[in-house]
């Protein structure tokens, strides 16, 4: 009897303890450990940015923001995460049980998979694929499926609206995003993320963003399209809390809700990383070439790794802060305007831009006098834009300062807007 069972199992599984190949067990363990590591790494990126966003929002709205958990509230995201873990996981009775439960993981997985090719430092990249950029653009398609799945499976009309909106939005905005990134590919001659970084230098005038005016425009086009792909305001139509209540994740609670939030804030980093890598010179440390870093050994090697990582995080943080600020400044587009913005403005704009890049690349020889002249002019353009921005911000700020001075002698019953 027992022997029969063993024979049966042997036939079924082909299991023979002696000749069994254990390598797949090792593979599972290694993949599991790597995934856990990656998860922790992503959590450390996505988590604090929720706290950061709320602090920035607080400042913009003259509030304080979360400041109780940990010093200045930096651990707020942990508290929120634990809270979500402890919450009841509600699944609507009429929902499509399987899809409803699976959708958040698909969304999160799609987002997590992008981290495989993102270079966070000189050697801090999981897989430097030759088609890294293409992979990035392709893998985000998983997120669409997940969101659509969540919207459909919730069996709620609001969620369905959110899911459908999201599908239309993400698919449409892939195009301007791809077009504007294609101009970078043209300039770099490679799709590998490390390769794109290697083609740029550490100093601003060596970055692709200031290489020529068309690439400068491509930077903003790509950023806009990425923001739209990340469902951030002003393109947060799939969620649209004042129209669709919460859109595709309206029925989610507890941990499953957290996966969506995870993906959303993690996506901020993906947006920032793509822009940093493609336009802002990635992790390049001024004064050192990638070759020198690669050649270094021992402590120096690890030092360069840490330094390049810091440079990368600094650059990306500025972009993250910018996207956060956008969210707390702009109203939301309407669904038809969203499509108009994409198909009538961004797509033709990106196409024209691509043509411009092509022409300039063909006409102007690299590192020639003309090239440096164009780089200089573009850098000047960028600085001019920044100055206009600072000037405008300062004008509003000064208006209030003058006002405050005017009010100084008067007895006010509320604390005036103290200046920093």
């Amino acid at each position: 009897m027992l022997r029969d069972v063993a024979t049966f199992l042997e036939r079924l599984l082909g299991f023979d303890p002696a000749t069994f190949d254990y390598s797949w067990v090792t593979a599972v363990v290694v993949i599991g450990a790597a995934s856990l590591l990656a998860f922790v790494f992503i959590a450390l990126f996505a988590g604090p940015v929720t706290w950061w966003e709320r602090r920035i929002a607080g400042r913009i709205q003259c509030r304080i923001g979360p400041n109780r958990v940990g010093p200045q509230g930096v651990l707020q995201w942990l508290a929120d995460g634990i809270k979500c873990f402890l919450k009841e996981d509600l699944v609507p009775a009429a929902a499509d049980q399987g899809l409803f439960r699976f959708a958040p993981y698909l969304v999160f997985g799609g987002y997590m998979a992008t981290f495989a090719v993102l270079p966070f430092g000189a050697n801090l990249v999981a897989a430097d694929l030759d088609v890294g950029l293409l992979y990035l653009l392709a893998i985000t398609g998983l997120v669409v499926i997940g969101i659509l799945m969540a919207g459909w499976a919730s069996n709620s009309k609001w969620a369905l609206f959110g899911g459908i909106r999201s599908a239309a939005q993400l698919v449409s905005y892939e195009i301007p995003s791809a077009f504007s990134l294609m101009s970078v590919v043209l300039a770099a001659g490679t799709m590998s993320m490390q390769g794109i970084i290697g083609q740029q230098g550490a100093w601003p005038w060596e970055w692709f963003v200031f290489k020529n005016p068309f690439l400068f425009a491509a930077f903003f086009l790509s950023l806009t399209a990425s923001v739209a792909e990340g469902n951030r305001t002003p393109f947060d139509l799939p969620e649209g809390e004042s129209e669709l209540v919460a859109g595709y994740h309206v029925e989610y609670s507890g941990m499953r809700f957290l996966w969506f939030m995870f993906a959303e804030w993690g996506n901020l980093w993906v947006i920032a990383t793509i822009a940093t890598v493609c336009f802002l010179g990635g992790w390049q440390v001024p004064g050192v070439t990638p070759a020198e870093i690669a050649a270094s050994t021992g402590l120096a090697f690890w030092g360069w790794q840490a330094l390049s990582f810091a440079v990368f995080v600094a650059k990306a943080s500025v972009l993250v802060a910018f996207v956060i600020q956008l969210r707390w400044t702009l109203p939301r587009l309407r669904v038809d305007q969203l499509m108009i913005t994409c198909w009538k403005y961004l797509v033709p704009g990106a196409l024209l831009n691509l043509a411009g890049v092509l022409v300039l690349l063909a006409v102007v020889p690299d590192q020639g006098v003309a090239d440096w002249a164009i780089r200089g002019a573009t850098l000047f353009l960028g600085l001019a834009l920044a100055s206009v921005f600072v000037w405008k911000a300062r004008a509003g700020y000064l208006a209030d300062r003058d006002l405050y001075r005017r009010m100084e002698g008067k007895e006010l019953w509320y604390p005036p807007y103290r200046l920093p």
Binding site: D236, G240, S242
Partner: protein, 547 residues
């Protein structure tokens, strides 16, 4: 045109004796029309060029047991600046009168409400259903012999009457299998971030395109009209705050004005200025919430918070003026509760100095923003004719290009002495009467309020703030309509007295009530997101709709 002239015109048109003046010496002289002539008379009044009663202010049904129910129509001609009260007496057993909903579009909801609460049958009405009460409610609450049930589906109707909830709630609004359509039914509300309170809109959508948005109100119906009948004149004052929680001063003032007219009380001059100052501050605060929450509905959170920050300071001032931040109860019949002292006036001036740059900052932040403009411009455009027909009032009416402001056109209080403009919609970014105009009119009104406040603070005289008023108020049998220009348009109180210390009937006319059917009217073809913008631009306050 005077009342006598209008009466003569009417009698000439209906010579068979169906039209006569009401004999009692009423404060607002009224015409009594035989019930079967109401519709014809209304059409005549509306269409005669020199009468031109283009606006129906309110329809009131008054239960007069044992044998009669009066239906009262308050009419107004915006073109000729004259008003008329039209009355019809119906038998109490079979109270039926022809509908005027084909004469004025706003009559639709007024008639539904009076059918619901008093039980008047408006024959020919296209959709005579209960408006405020649940569909399965029994009886008409504003009838004098109405007895409140203790329990409604197992829910006790009062805190004192503790009834154990044993009975399961019956399925009430089960979806009926209607004709096969491709339309999707979508409930926007009652708990939806964009409905500003507990309101429901039943959307019939084709994808994102709305084919119709049917407003469903009554979730916040507290029966303030009924409560007022059970309370003394002065005791009704706190309830008027709750009619419109963002503009408590105005409902206060409208009620005070109605009672003062009934009692013939002269309000001291300083009290009038106190009222103006308090009201204009309140108007600014209300427009802060109106415009700010509109921006929030469109996804911009920050402007709302910035406006609320300024509103907090107005609340601080209000706290000093009247002791409360929201439910002011500041006005009294014959004056105001307490004087505004010099320190508070100084606070107001200081706040205004501080506020001016913030106003332009708000414009830079959101009003001029291209996304915001595109979301609002040319969305839900309402023509002036429709706006008048729907009895829209206040900024919503002015946004459609009609320059009608009670402060200017039917002056009350000390407003004739103050200099201010009435901003109207000019098609600032699109067509006249679109959502953007409704926003910008409010923003300009904030600036006009500042102008009025500065003048009022400079002009405020010394003196008493309260007339000598007997402790128990017993006005003789009469009726009066008191109205003010509230942030959401005309806030009117129609008070009917019968010689006792309690009003016989109180009818509240608010700006939001008439704004609701407009949503139904404008919704076809809009997107779901536009509905949100439309609700926001009309500045709908749910308790004001339901009262």
């Amino acid at each position: 045109m005077t009342f006598t002239e209008i009466l003569q015109r009417l009698q000439a048109a209906f010579p068979d004796g169906g039209v006569e003046a009401v004999e009692d010496a009423l404060l607002d002289p009224a015409v009594r029309v035989r019930a079967d002539l109401v519709h014809a008379a209304c059409l005549f009044l509306r269409d005669e060029p020199d009468l031109w009663m283009d606006t129906l202010r309110v329809i009131t049904a008054i239960d007069r047991p044992p044998d009669a129910i009066d239906v009262v129509y308050h009419l107004l001609s915006m073109r000729h600046h004259h008003t008329l009260v039209l009355k019809a007496r119906l038998p109490r057993e079979t109270p039926a009168v022809a509908t005027v909903s084909d004469v004025w579009a706003s009559a639709d909801w007024f008639e539904r409400e009076q059918f619901d609460l008093v039980g008047v049958d408006f024959t020919g009405h296209p959709d005579l259903r209960r408006l405020m009460m649940p569909v399965d409610w029994v009886g008409h609450p504003l009838r004098k012999d109405y007895v409140r049930p203790d329990v409604y589906h197992g829910i006790p109707t009062s805190r004192d009457r503790v009834v154990p909830v044993t009975q399961a709630l019956p399925p009430q609004h089960q979806a009926k299998a209607g004709p096969e359509t491709d339309l999707m039914l979508l409930n926007l509300g009652p708990h939806h971030p964009a409905t500003h309170g507990v309101l429901n809109f039943l959307l019939e959508t084709d994808g994102e395109i709305v084919r119709r948005a049917k407003p469903d109100v009554g979730y916040l119906h507290r029966g303030i009209e009924k409560i007022a009948e059970m309370n003394a004149y002065a005791g009704t004052m706190p309830y008027t705050d709750r009619v419109d929680y963002l503009g408590g001063m105005f409902t206060n003032q409208a009620w005070a004005m109605a009672c003062e007219r009934l009692l013939g009380i002269e309000v001291p001059r300083r009290a009038e200025f106190c009222r103006v100052i308090a009201c204009e501050l309140n108007r600014i605060a209300s427009h802060f919430v109106g415009t700010g929450s509109m921006a929030m509905d469109l996804g911009a959170f920050t402007p709302f918070i910035h406006w609320l920050r300024e509103r907090e300071k107005i609340n601080d001032i209000m706290e000093r003026i009247c002791g409360a931040r929201l439910t002011y109860t500041y006005m009294r019949i014959g004056g105001v509760a307490r004087d505004i002292d010099a320190a508070t006036l100084e606070m107001i001036s200081a706040w205004m100095d501080h506020f001016e740059p913030i106003c332009s900052e708000f414009d830079r932040l959101i009003t001029g923003n291209e996304i915001f403009v595109q979301r609002l411009a040319n969305v839900a455009t309402l023509s002036a004719e429709d706006a008048i027909s729907y009895s829209l009032v206040g900024p919503n009416l002015r946004a459609s290009g009609v320059k009608w402001d009670l402060r200017r056109d039917e002056p009350y209080s000390v407003y004739p002495e103050l200099e201010f403009d009435v901003p109207v919609g000019l098609g600032w970014r699109g067509h006249v009467g679109d959502c953007y105009d409704r926003l910008i009119v409010r923003l300009f009104e904030i600036r006009e309020c500042i102008r009025i406040l500065r003048q009022a603070i400079a002009m405020i005289p010394d003196g008493e703030v309260r007339a000598k008023v007997p402790r128990v108020l017993k006005p003789a049998a009469n009726e009066a309509y008191g109205r003010v220009e509230a942030p959401r348009g005309e806030a009117g109180f129609y008070a009917v007295s019968d010689g006792t210390d309690k009003p016989y009937r109180v009818r509240i006319r608010t700006g939001c009530f008439t704004a609701m059917p407009v949503i139904d009217h404008l919704s076809p073809g809009l997107l779901v997101a536009d509905i949100v913008a439309l609700i926001g631009s009309l500045d709908v306050i749910a308790p004001e709709v339901d009262r």
